[in-house]
């Protein structure tokens, strides 16, 4: 039991990271229908930002974090302006921006790959390496920090969509683009903002996970896959689905490794299996969009 509770904290932290990545996908998919696989690379870019500002130049953590997130917002916005908008304005089919964004994925990765040595780079922990015992739960400071930050982000995003007019306009675009445009909602602004927010959230996921996994140029793809799997499990319809999908994925992954009587190598197949089962049996995910 002790092991289980200890693992639950670690799995929840991993699940929160997956959930944030799923949320980054979701923020862009909802209003535009565009799946942007570059979220993993965005997380990588932010991790390298963490290495530069926090490790190399030793900025105070909150300042460094704010600077990196601001940069990510600009990067997301610029990606939309450069890659997506020209295609949308020319009336290209939906697949065109998706492919263009896949191209951007390569651009981001190679830009980092030629700018930094190939080894993993350290990103510091905001609260150090220590361990916190909280009732029956025990885990690293970082695990608790990840969980708390993620909950705050999800509450914020949920409130934005449910309680603000701007959030409602996002939702309206998600429900029916043309009708929303006819109601006077500025489509291109909603799209640009959704990309900026997507990059910001993906960057935050990168910053949170990189003290554990280090910043390296190949870290993006696995994160993109984990986030996408979480999204498929949770469903693209609702914000809380992203978090639910992330948590389910992480628990399934880690509990299989720990408790399933299969060789450790086989446990890697679990996320893939989950992805296939959901795509086949429940492609809309666990939580459906409200009508």
């Amino acid at each position: 039991m002790q092991d289980f509770l200890e693992l639950a904290v670690g799995a929840a932290a991993s699940g929160c990271v997956y959930g944030l990545l799923a949320l980054a996908y979701l923020l862009m998919i909802r209003p535009t229908g565009i799946i942007n696989f570059a979220v993993g690379e965005w997380a990588m870019v932010a991790s390298f930002g963490g290495f530069l500002l926090l490790s190399r130049y030793e900025w105070p953590y909150p300042l460094g974090m704010a600077a990196i997130l601001a940069f990510m917002l600009v990067l997301g916005w610029a990606t939309e302006r450069i890659t997506v908008r020209p295609l949308v304005e020319k009336g290209a089919p939906l697949l065109a921006p998706i492919l263009a964004l896949l191209g951007m994925l390569v651009v981001f990765r190679e830009a980092i790959s030629v700018s930094f040595p190939p080894d993993p780079h350290p990103v510091p922990f905001p609260f150090g390496l220590g361990r916190l015992e909280w009732g029956p739960f025990g885990g690293s400071y970082q695990s608790f920090f990840i969980i708390a930050t993620t909950l705050l982000v999800f509450i914020g995003v949920w409130l934005f969509f449910e309680r603000t007019v701007a959030g409602k306009s996002f939702e309206a675009v998600a429900l029916h683009r043309r009708a929303a445009a006819l109601m006077g909602i500025n489509l291109s602004r909603v799209t640009a903002l959704s990309f900026a927010a997507g990059a910001g959230i993906a960057g935050l996921a990168g910053l949170l996970v990189s003290p554990n996994i280090s910043a390296h140029y190949l870290m993006g793809i696995p994160l993109a896959i984990q986030g996408f799997t979480a999204l498929v499990i949770g469903g693209v319809g609702r914000v809380e689905g992203a978090l639910l999908g992330g948590l389910l994925l992480a628990f399934a992954e880690q509990m299989t490794v720990r408790y399933a009587p299969v060789p450790s190598g086989f446990a890697q197949g679990v996320p893939l299996l989950l992805l296939m089962v959901f795509l086949l049996l429940r492609p809309t995910g666990l939580l459906r969009a409200r009508a």
Binding site: V17, S115, P118, V209, S214, P222, V257, P263
Partner: protein
Amino acid sequence: MKRFVALLAAGLAAWGAHAQDTIKIGVITDRVGVSKPYSEPSTEGLIFGAGEINKRGGVLGKKIELLVEDDQSRPDISAALARKLIDQGAVFILSMSLTPATQQQQTVTMESKTPQMTPMNSGDTLTTQLPNPYFWQTGPLGSIQIATLLAHARSKNLKRVALISDNSDLGQLLARFFRGGLEKSGIQVVSEEVVPRGATTAEPQMQKIRAANPDALFMAGVLTAENVLILRAYRQFGLKFPIHSSYNLSVPVYMSVGKGLVDGVTFVDAYDPDKAEVKEFVAAYKKETGKEPFNLHGYGYDGIMMVAEAIKKAGTTDKEKIREAMQALTYKGVMGAKGMEYHFPEGKRAGFDPNGMVVRVYEGDKQGRVIHTGQK
């Protein structure tokens, strides 16, 4: 960026040398793929070595010209690149990429009878799967690593151990060698775990290992980020059993990304910083490039030096003569324990002396002293 400019400069220099009569050596490296962290420093050592040779007047009165190709560690394009290099007149190919890519190149070098060598790959099967008399391997074999680590571990009287690795090709291959070696020594593997590439934690694996209560943990993984996860979980849980690691922990990056995690970990290495040849190499490299080299640079450096030596001994660029000279070569280089010589025993094409590896220990965050040498 600096690296890019340096590569560009190296490329231009090679272009300049093109006009003269040169000896062309093909190099297949990985600049963007999974092997890049190993391939890049090794290739830098190789390029530095070629520069040193050319400064001393080259080989057979001609300068060495490196034709460098990038195979992204992909076997499917690696063989095509080997063919391209041979068409461009390369008399020798140095493989600085991943083991499967090197293996694939052999199909071309065997057929075209072109000498090929990998100074850094450690897969045991490279010289045994194909009867290719034109191929040599001078990196320490996976089996030598485990034998050296085991020889050290034997003194610790281990009965039950855990084994952890990653899901890369090489990590799996090394895990297999480790398991085979351990079982042959009568040591029971009570828990065997895999941390997949891209994992965000190794805590579940480490919990299982903790539950199995081993005398020691052997790390066979080669992915740095995943190895750091393993070490982090080990510290997080406050575990006390000793860790013995593959050569992957000999890469100096652990001194920064593994800060606070590596103290007391023993690892196998092919590099003794106290060796005279190493001190000489480090001084020369620093003088030329302003950077501190490490063990991986030494692999590439020794590789090009051996190739130059073989061509010199052959006295010609005839590939068959080079093959004969290479097979008969003995060479004392940067890598290996004090006094080690590379040589190819009759019928064998793996040249790293089985007693040439050492076991070192991390002292604080620094790679420390040699605590064991060879397999005895």
